[in-house]
Symmetry: C2
DNA sequence: TATTGTTATACTCTATAACTATA
DNA sequence: TATAGTTATAGAGTATAACAATA
């Protein structure tokens, strides 16, 4: 009877194969992994500062600057100084960005579905519920 | 009603927090993350070649050499040329290695338990079962 | 002086390709 | 010549700290 493998190792391997699965899709849609994460965060709601966005996605504030530059150059996000405090940048997804993100997300979720299809329906629902609860920190 | 977040992003965040949780424990036990992964693999069964070990843990064969050097120097693994083919290195965990790994694993699993304790018992069992099934590739 | 965002630097990981030793 | 392991090189990703602009 096998002992339970370490959770981190187990999930780490799973994440690696998911990333491998999704990277080609993102490339087709001309999005980097971080770009996709940022678009997803902004699609849920706009954010008032870059630091807040960085924290929301678990990144360093210096780490997302290049990503924001690219997304802005591609017209996928807007990024304007707040008139009330010109130090901060107001961040929001554009309509183009939303479309791009949705298109990528549809393909990605379809691939994820194929993976999840291996699970019995009950386990599958519980897995998603549990993952969401645990990821909520 | 919130849409389902992307699986990869969700699990990726979860893995990050697990790693953050476990890194201090590994440091206490003087193990690197890869060192722990290697010990865990060898604790399940010895391996005949370094390339096979690398593949088993999803790493590159060049990537684990430094790790194997450290583990060997610390007396946690044995690594001898196969008399039948002196190109290959027979790898096995030592008794010291086993003890070190078990000690770290106990502490790590205890921390994981505390995290999993948030879940209803049924979801928790289903989550582990599903994660194991999906990670099995 | 404190805060937001940016740039610069160094450091760690990783991937690729040469190299050695055995076969 | 083919294979297991090793070393060397370069590239990507990341963290830290210094910097500029604004408050």
């Amino acid at each position: 009877m096998a002992e339970r493998p370490d959770l981190a190792a187990m999930l780490g391997g799973l994440v690696r194969s998911l990333v491998a699965l999704e990277t080609p899709v993102l490339e087709e849609h001309r999005l980097s992994m971080w770009g996709y994460v940022v678009l997803s965060a902004l699609d849920d709601s706009p954010v008032r500062t870059q630091a807040a966005l960085a924290q929301a996605i678990g990144a360093d504030k210096t780490r997302i600057i290049g990503t924001l530059d690219e997304l802005q150059d591609a017209g996928l996000i807007s990024r304007e100084p707040d008139p009330a405090d010109r130090r901060v940048r107001l961040l929001a997804i554009t309509e183009t960005g939303r479309e791009r993100r949705r298109a990528a997300q549809d393909r990605i979720q379809a691939k994820e579905e194929r993976l999840l299809a291996r699970l019995p329906a009950a386990d599958r629902a519980a897995f998603l519920r549990a993952a969401q609860a645990l990821a909520a920190e």
